[in-house]
């Protein structure tokens, strides 16, 4: 216990109540008083209440006026002694405050100015009976009795720099439930020593402030987008899907487009949309020449019941290298592999794709595509719908609707929509379809093995679910580390709109 704490307790003991700590302990700052009081209060030695008030002190000029009278009185007395005083001489004869004195003496009607610009005493003024209002006010203030003084007057005195405002904190102290002149030390924490010696049994402990947050932990974190990716992976795994080797960003025109029945003049193959590669420049043709001839025939003249696109198909377009525009390029290669040993198969990938797009809040030149491929015998469009419902239900998305759409490599094609409670509208959440027969039969897959495919971007559902407005805040170097650090666990099945 500090000496000051003891002093407070003794005074309290003597007085039974301390009505003003300012009066009882005038030399101690209010911060020091408060800290001593809090400490004693924690021990239930006392209780206190705090009173904030405003006080005024005289400035040096103000003090001077209280002692010797105001400038206006003193100037009037000087003019009385001299008889007349040239206005231009006021400062030299009276001093720095001459102008102030002159103005206020005029205002009080004590002096006048004659034609020669001289100051004279007004008629009937008795210098010994001047009422020195400024001095009287300051005297009152110096005695601490300013409650009777009008606020405007106080403000004026402040403006004239005669008084200075001071905030004051005072305390009223009364005895607490466990008042005594002694103090036991309160322990802040249980230590290993106390436990070993058993000392904790006799010690008193400081109360905790539970209205607090604790110290933030030092921790690493996984990236929010990768956390969502992991959710998708687990959904695929739970439904028996094997991950495709999608770690191949550079693709040939053949696998990225021709194999998927995208004609060579399709806008998707434009320089505007696709990143072409200048080094290395030219790919090899696919090893499976029978397959390539089938692809050529399907494009050029039609085959496998298709009339084809009927144009001159060029190998050189197949050999152009691109950054893949979709992971379906890998799916095509996997389906071609499947043709060696056709059987029901489930495959998925979640990986990066590239589009030569202008970057804005919803578009980046690279993003992630989630893609599923399901091959099975004699399956129907109804199976695709049901499977999509099961798949999206796993992430808490139900009540799907399906809209006819067009993709070059699937027929029928269906856009998948779900009702978004937060946005209050139907939003497109993915695209799906059955791969075209002429595409699959070119690979050598049997006619009755149908293949369903569906895809969605990883970023879009993440942005919708977690209300991220700008894709650049989710992927790339502009993502804030605070966002990564503070992002909660991703649970796609968690309903954020209940």
């Amino acid at each position: 216990m500090s000496d000051f704490q003891l002093e407070i307790l003794q005074k309290l003991n003597d007085l039974n109540e301390i009505k003003s700590t300012i009066k009882v302990f005038p030399t101690v700052s209010s911060q020091d008083v408060l800290s001593a009081l809090n400490s004693l209060k924690a021990h239930n030695k006392l209780t206190y209440s705090k009173i904030d008030s405003i006080h005024y002190d005289l400035s040096d000029e103000g003090k001077e006026i209280v002692t010797n009278g105001s400038h206006e009185v003193k100037l009037t007395q000087l003019i009385n002694e001299m008889g007349k005083l040239q206005i231009k001489d006021v400062m030299s004869k009276f001093g720095a405050n001459g102008k102030v004195g002159q103005a206020r003496a005029f205002k009080n009607g004590w002096i006048v100015k004659n034609k020669e610009n001289e100051l004279e005493l007004k008629e009937n003024i008795n210098v010994n009976e001047l009422k020195d209002e400024t001095k009287d006010l300051l005297t009152l203030i110096s005695q601490g009795s300013y409650d009777s003084i009008d606020n405007k007057v106080i403000a004026d005195l402040k403006k004239r720099k005669l008084i200075v405002q001071r905030k004051e904190t005072d305390f009223i102290i009364t005895k607490g439930a466990e008042f005594s002149l002694e103090l036991t030390k309160l322990e802040t924490d249980i230590t290993s020593d106390m436990i070993v010696t058993g000392a904790y049994k006799d010690l008193k402990f400081k109360p905790y402030n539970f209205n607090s947050q604790g110290i933030s932990t030092q921790s690493g974190a996984l990236h929010p987008l990768n956390k969502v990716r992991e959710e998708f992976r687990q959904i695929f795994f739970s439904m028996g899907f094997t991950e495709m080797p999608s770690n191949q960003y550079v693709e040939t025109g053949f696998w990225n487009f021709d194999a998927l029945y995208v004609p060579q003049q399709h806008p998707a193959r434009d320089l505007q949309d696709t990143f072409y590669i200048k080094d290395p420049l030219t790919a090899d043709l696919p090893e499976d020449k029978v397959y390539m001839e089938n692809v050529k025939a399907v494009h050029e003249n039609g085959k496998f019941d298709s009339i084809g696109y009927r144009y001159n198909w060029k190998e050189v377009e197949c050999q152009k290298l691109v950054l893949r525009t979709h992971t379906t390029a890998i799916s095509a290669a996997m389906l071609h592999e499947l043709a060696k040993d056709p059987k029901p198969t489930r495959l998925f990938s979640i990986d990066r794709v590239f589009r030569n797009e202008a970057v804005d809040a919803t578009h980046l030149a690279e993003f992630h595509q989630v893609e599923g491929v399901l091959a099975d015998y004699n399956i129907t469009l109804g199976d695709l719908i049901k499977f999509m419902e099961d798949f999206f239900a796993k992430m808490g998305v139900t009540g799907l609707r399906f809209k006819p759409t067009y993709n070059p490599y699937t027929e029928p094609s269906m856009e998948i929509y779900s009702w978004h409670e937060g946005l209050g509208k139907w939003v497109e959440i993915g695209n799906s379809g059955m791969f075209r027969p002429e595409m699959l039969e070119s690979m050598g897959l049997p006619k009755d093995l149908k293949v369903l495919g569906w895809g969605l971007s990883l970023e879009r559902p993440t942005m919708i679910k977690y209300k991220v407005q700008n894709i650049r805040e989710l992927l790339g170097h502009k993502v804030s580390l605070e966002f990564i650090e503070s992002n909660p666990a991703a649970r796609l099945d968690e309903d954020l709109y209940e």
Binding site: Q218, A221, L222, H223, L225, N226, F237, M239, G240, F241, T242, N247, Y249, T252, W255, P267, F275, I277, K278, D279, P280, D284, P286, E287, D305, S306, I307, Y311, L321, K343, P344, R346, R352, A358, A365, E366, D376, N378, I379, T380, L381, G382, D383, R401, K403, P404, Y406, E411, P412, M434, R436, P437, E438, L475, G476, H477, V479, S480, L481, E482
Partner: protein, 595 residues
């Protein structure tokens, strides 16, 4: 997908109903087009007529104008029959010169007689040509069309290829005569750059330019650039001569079919087109265009039912197909076969699966039975092995209090080389041919540029900044079909007031320990078994001299040690190049060696 703007009231008039917004949205949804935007609110403010912006499938060229959208929706709703397009006898010819083979070998033509345009239908006619030019015609490279006032010309017509100086005419909307060479220069001026200037490149460098002339050698058009002022059409034109020139014959016919199918409805004889005899002996393309010979495709009822999970009768399927303008009749020879007649507006039908899809749309996707015929085979799922290794790196790094970042794969050449004080020997990095910005010139060969850019963007974050990334870099390899391959890397940085080399070294140890790889003292000499060590390597210019090392890995006892990565104190110039005012240490490993 193309978007078509149509006058809202005009469309609703054609559909015979003023649809509420939700109701029209629903109709579009079921049919497979998308109502993108309804401009009613803005239009009312601006005192304009409201428009609907409708997104259509990229293969439905017949829906690129209001006439086609209304026709198809009316048929879908059962309010209208598919038009029966008729041809009259040809009255004129288009002679194709062999010289056109050098530049644009194919031509087609047709005439619309006694047409009555009004302002809206005339605007739609012009707009459809624009839409076709930019979509199917690939900005006029594959096909270009010209429409002319037939009455200002006299047939027969000629399609020639002539030296530019020999083609002289007053082009559309100009007053002065140009020769074709002058005209190319004119359209290359800055004010034409985004207009006709866009098409100059298609013929500019050819010694001969394509030209359509009438019997008196009056120029009708200079395809694919501009028509002549002389043959200009207007809302009052009564007889329209359509000429098509192309490098792709199939698309030329498709374009001509759509133009006449959509606008023959305004002819004196509704849906009747006058064909033109094309004389093109040199390439065997003499014929009469357009060709309205019925196109048929057979489709199996069993196939449609199996694909849709239904057991519909022939008549039920026929009714569904009719809604999508496909007219089927049961085959007299085979009870399972429907003979489907495909109108000229549906060139998108390539395979019976396209008919099957329309049968599904006609039935309604929402009405299809949700079936579960999927195989019950027990599918054994497995992750991609390298992704499993990645996850070990990721989890261990996060546990060690590093933050995961995901930088972009593409970066500038400087970021991948010069800024890291390394040289490009042209053996490793894949380079892009056509990036829109300098930000994307190469595919990264190291994770470092992305990590440094992330640190730069977050340099206000409290120190130290500790981030890692596990991602793919790409290297060239000429032996592969795709000439390049991905390699999975892991990189981590410590950035602060001090370089923190020992901290990065410690993180490497933690990762190696997680991967069952102990440190081997004395640079690998202390033990012959699996393990790692680091060796100073002054050839690593990204690091401060004397503070860079390679990471050596011995997979098992007796195995040859291999370099699997590097670490060190980043060179201050590297930090300056990325505007980071701190010191840093970095480690990067090739994750594939742990497979």
């Amino acid at each position: 997908m193309p978007t078509v703007s149509v006058n809202k009231q005009q469309l609703f008039d054609l559909l015979g109903k003023n649809y509420a917004n939700d109701e029209f949205d629903e109709l579009c949804f079921q049919f497979g087009i998308e109502l993108d935007e309804d401009t009613t609110e803005e239009a009312l403010k601006a005192g304009e007529e409201p428009e609907l912006k409708i997104e259509i499938g990229a293969n439905r060229y017949d829906l690129l104008c209001i006439e086609g959208i209304a026709q198809s929706l009316n048929e879908y709703l059962g309010r209208s029959e598919t038009p029966k397009y008729k041809l009259t006898k040809p009255t004129t010819r288009l002679y194709v010169d062999q010289a056109t083979e050098q530049i644009r070998p194919y031509a087609a033509a047709a005439i619309l007689r006694n047409i009555s345009f009004n302002e809206k239908s005339y605007a739609s006619f012009i707009s459809l040509q624009d839409k076709l030019h930019s979509n199917l015609c690939r900005n006029r490279t594959l096909v270009a069309m010209g429409t002319h006032n037939l009455d200002a010309t006299t047939g027969p017509f000629h399609y020639r290829a002539l030296p530019p100086k020999d083609i002289k005419f007053v082009p559309l909307n100009q007053t002065k005569e140009f020769d074709a060479a002058e005209l190319m220069e004119f359209y290359k001026q800055p004010e034409q750059k985004n207009n006709l200037g866009r098409f100059v490149h298609i013929i500019e460098n050819s010694p001969v330019y394509p030209v359509i002339m009438d019997s008196s050698d009056v120029v009708c058009s200079l395809p694919p650039i501009i028509n002549s002022e002389h043959t200009k059409i207007s809302v009052d034109t009564r007889n329209v001569f359509i000429e098509i020139t192309a490098t792709d014959k199939t698309k030329a016919e498709v374009v001509l079919d759509q133009l006449v199918a959509m606008f023959s409805r305004y002819c004196g004889d509704e849906f009747t087109v006058e064909p033109v005899e094309i004389v093109s002996e040199h390439n065997g393309q003499s014929r009469i265009t357009p060709n309205f010979a019925e196109r048929k495709m057979n489709v199996s009822i069993a196939y449609i039912n199996a694909a849709l999970g239904l057991e519909q009768s022939a008549d039920e399927i026929i009714a569904c197909l009719k809604k999508l303008s496909l007219h089927a009749t049961a085959s007299s020879e085979d009870k399972d076969i429907l003979e489907v007649s495909i109108p000229i507006t549906r060139p998108d039908i390539l395979h019976p699966c396209d008919i099957m899809e329309d049968a599904a749309i006609g039935y309604g996707y929402d009405n299809l039975p949700k079936t579960e015929k999927l195989s019950n085979a027990n599918f054994i799922a497995s992750p991609l092995p390298i992704n499993k290794i990645s996850d070990i790196f990721r989890v261990a790094s996060a546990q060690a209090s590093w933050l995961e970042v995901m930088a972009l794969t593409l970066c500038s050449h400087d970021e991948n080389f010069k800024f890291l004080k390394t040289e490009d020997d042209n053996t490793k990095a894949v380079k892009l041919a056509n990036p829109k910005t300098l930000e994307y010139q190469v595919v990264r060969t190291t994770l470092l540029p992305g990590i440094l850019k992330t640190v730069k963007e977050n340099r206000k974050h409290s120190l130290p900044i500790k981030v890692f990334e596990t991602g793919d870099v790409v290297f060239k390899n000429d032996a592969l079909e795709r000439k390049a391959y991905n390699e999975r890397h892991w990189g981590a940085i410590y950035t602060g007031k001090n370089s923190g080399f020992e901290i990065i070294q410690g993180l490497l140890g933690k990762i190696m320990q997680t991967l069952r790889t102990p440190w081997v003292a004395d640079f690998g000499a202390a033990s012959p078994s699996r393990g790692y060590w680091i060796e100073q390597d002054d050839s690593l210019k990204t690091y401060f001299p004397g503070r860079g090392a390679k990471v050596m890995f011995r997979a098992k006892e007796g195995a040859e040690p291999q370099q699997v990565g590097h670490l060190g104190v980043l060179h201050p110039e590297v930090m300056n190049n990325f505007d980071i005012p701190y010191a840093a240490s970095y480690v990067e490993l090739n994750a594939e060696v742990f497979l």
